[in-house]
């Protein structure tokens, strides 16, 4: 038990040290700030469009004027952080700095969790920044932020963390920066494409007299779509927000629980993936 406690303490120390380093490196680079600025700018464009519509038409009923712009901003930021994790870990392996870390008291678990905690902390900091921006927008437009908005912030912590865990997993099992980037972009584009393909295929009325490959393709795409719905952090965010707005707190808590579960699964898989792929070039 003593040995386990010592091991945990060492691990925590490694996690904290890696976490601090990664945060500093991310904050000192311009990319993160460019992404946050662009995200807020696009959110403002969306809000302006809404307000212009209200001005022109007099009314606009919707769940929350700030909900979609905020969702856009946090999804864009979450995707960026996940992507930057994908690139960072692969690059560390390629450049040898991962090997350097493993010379010391760093194991696979502490490495993965250190990286994860750094990105999640950055995400929380950005979330706080966005909250301030939206509070300012709310004050300027004289529109109250609803309780559901703040609940969405809470939900986005879990879905954002889940997205980051996926990024870590992709990077841990990829051979190189190029492979990791292609796989991550492939996953994101594939998820979007599947929806489009399903929509296209659904418009084909299938024959029933004889076997038709369209039926098989429809079924396969449908299964993939259902799987993606279960796995995609974006669908968790949308689903969670919808259930919260419907007042179905049980489903809302269930969404959070599932997001946490999948996050842990991906993190555990990342540790295994890292062990399998190795830390050397």
């Amino acid at each position: 038990m003593m040995m386990t406690a010592v091991k945990s303490a060492e691990r925590i120390r490694a996690v904290v040290t890696i976490h601090k380093r990664d945060m500093r490196l991310a904050l000192f680079g311009p990319a993160l700030h460019v992404v946050t600025t662009l995200s807020i700018l696009i959110a403002v464009v969306i809000i302006r469009n809404y307000l212009n519509y209200i001005k022109a038409n007099g009314i606009y009923p919707m769940p929350d004027l700030f909900s979609f712009p905020f969702r856009w901003a946090i999804i864009a930021t979450g995707v960026y952080l996940a992507f930057s994790t994908v690139v960072t870990i692969s690059r560390e392996r390629e450049s040898g700095t991962m090997e350097l870390l493993f010379y010391g008291p760093v194991d696979h678990v502490s490495y993965v969790f250190g990286k994860y905690m750094a990105q999640v902390t950055l995400y929380l900091m950005i979330l706080a920044l966005y909250t301030v921006c939206f509070l300012t927008l709310s004050w300027m437009a004289r529109i109250q932020l609803s309780a559901s908005f703040f609940i969405m912030i809470l939900l986005s912590v879990f879905t954002g963390s889940y997205l980051i865990a996926i990024g870590i997993f992709v990077s841990s099992v990829s051979r190189s920066v190029r492979n990791a980037t292609l796989v991550f972009l492939g996953i994101v584009m594939g998820a979007l494409l599947i929806q489009g393909i399903q929509s296209w295929l659904s418009n084909i009325a299938p024959e029933s007299d004889y076997y038709n490959p369209v039926l098989l393709l429809q079924q396969v795409v449908s299964w993939i779509q259902v799987t993606l719905t279960w796995l995609s952090p974006f669908s968790y965010l949308n689903h969670g927000v919808d259930e919260m707005l419907r007042g179905n707190m049980k489903a809302f808590v269930g969404t959070i629980a599932l997001a946490i579960s999948f996050c842990l699964i991906f993190l555990a898989s990342s540790v295994l993936g890292l062990k399998f792929r190795g830390v050397r070039q």
């Binding site: 807020i40 209200i54 004027l65 437009a141 109250q144 009325a205 689903h239």
Partner: protein
């Protein structure tokens, strides 16, 4: 090895896509009509009976729980209509009942065996007002005959009216010509009254199986007289119920009454422009599983992956006053009134909305209200206002509350200011870092030069 797998994968995907394309082209180019077994369904959708059919390509029926729905096994000619990507039925050429018993199976056990019955669907208040009534068996015939008699009586009344109007007009013309017209001949008083519009609507008497089930998943099949299952008659049946009930509003801005907006979700906020007048028309609504409801009304509609929930209008009603509050502070109540829209004379093409009063005429007829609603004046003080209805027991009607928020006017550049915050934070952090690095380097260079 990886290259081989990759190549096989690409080949597989291309084959399937080509097959899909061929199938799509074939399906779209085939215009032949085929005799097929279908289920004709009159499904209750919460407010009306919606008639549709399920071709063999659709494997699942959708019906509302605890309502009488009619399922009619029929034979017809089916053809593919590429314009709307669906199969159409040529009922005019072939519409034949398929005799048999409809079996309903739940969890492997047969729970019902339904015989076909006569049925008729009627709308005593008119089809647009909902509230249908369905009659089965002998009642169907009786009710249909009753409707036929009333329709006939109306036709006679209309004919009598036209005749009376003709006589009145001729008489009036004669009196005018003769110069003998008196105040007793006032058109508005002495002209014959047109019979009230006949809104009572009815279908013919048809034959089908009435299906009333509680929510769940079932299977149906038709067994013919020989005891065999009719081909293409086995289908899944999803019976679903409404999830929530509530009150929706049609919100009509005074300056754009022809383009109202609907607010159906109770969690919605109605954002409004300041200095405006709104009219709110309430109606009952229910929430359903979107996938199920869409396919109840359109069986051949494409399936969608991320189905959510759908609010469906179900009928208007006359409510109590609309309550307005902010937080826990009650502000006032607004009464439900009738309104009419009056065109402003002249070439401006404007209109005004006025409170309807009895006795106002338009042409030869008395003017009836154009709509009934709550009138709400929106000024700049309207912020985070809650609207809700109360029932007769003074309890808020569930699902009737909405938040109203007036948006203020602002300058074109103001809203961009918050976007400067991330810029400022970024510049501060990155700038400080770069400055400190440069400063150290300068110090070192200076020290080296001195040495």
């Amino acid at each position: 090895m990886r290259k081989i797998i990759g190549a096989l994968l690409v080949l597989g995907i291309c084959s399937v896509i080509c097959g899909a394309a061929v199938g799509m082209v074939y399906a779209q180019s085939s215009d032949e009509k085929r005799e097929e077994f279908v289920y004709g369904v009159n499904a209750f959708n919460g407010s009306l009976y919606h008639g549709t059919f399920y071709p063999p390509s659709v494997d699942t029926l959708y019906l509302l729980a605890d309502e009488i729905n009619i399922v009619s096994p029929r034979k017809t000619l089916l053809y593919y209509w590429p314009v709307t990507n669906e199969y159409k039925a040529d009922w005019d050429t072939l519409s034949e009942n398929v005799e048999g018993v409809l079996e309903i199976i739940s969890q492997g056990q047969m729970i019902a065996s339904l015989q076909p019955k006569d049925y008729v669907i009627q709308y005593p208040k008119g089809i647009t007002r909902g509230d249908p009534q369905i009659f089965l068996g002998d009642d169907a015939q009786t009710k249909y005959e009753q409707w036929s008699d009333e329709l006939q009586a109306y036709r006679f009344a209309v004919a009598a009216y036209y005749e009376a109007s003709r006589i009145f007009t001729v008489t009036l013309d004669d009196k005018i010509e003769a110069g003998t017209i008196t105040s007793a001949d006032d058109v508005l008083v002495s002209a014959p009254d047109r019979p009230a519009e006949f809104v009572y609507s009815s279908t013919k008497v048809y034959r089908g199986m009435p299906v009333t089930l509680s929510s769940g998943n079932y299977e149906i099949r038709l067994r013919n007289g020989e005891g065999e299952i009719v081909e293409n008659s086995v289908k899944k049946l999803v019976v679903f119920q409404r999830d929530r009930v509530g009150v929706g509003y049609t919100v009509i801005p005074e300056d754009k009454w022809t383009t109202p907006e609907d607010t159906q979700r109770p969690d919605e906020i109605v954002y409004v422009r300041s200095n405006n007048v709104l009219y709110l028309e309430p109606y009952f609504e229910s929430e359903y599983n979107e996938q199920y409801f869409v396919h109840l009304e359109a069986p051949q509609a494409p399936r969608f992956g991320n189905a959510g929930w759908l609010w469906v209008k179900e009928g208007k009603f006359v409510p109590n006053d609309l309550q307005i509050s902010r937080g826990k502070m009650w502000l006032r109540a607004v009464s439900f009134e009738d309104y009419m829209v009056r065109q402003i004379p002249g070439k401006a093409l404007g209109y005004e909305i006025l409170e309807w009063q009895e006795g106002i005429s338009q042409g030869m007829r008395e003017r009836s209200p154009d709509f009934s609603a709550f009138r709400l004046v929106v000024d700049h003080q309207i912020q985070d206002i809650a609207l809700y209805l109360v029932g007769d027991n003074d309890v808020a009607v569930g699902g009737s509350s909405r938040t109203l928020d007036a948006v203020r006017e602002f300058g074109s550049g103001e809203l961009w200011l918050p976007a400067l915050l991330p810029v400022a934070v970024g510049l501060a952090i990155v700038g400080t870092r770069r400055y400190s690095l440069r400063r150290y380097r300068a110090v070192i260079t200076e020290a080296s030069t001195e040495q």
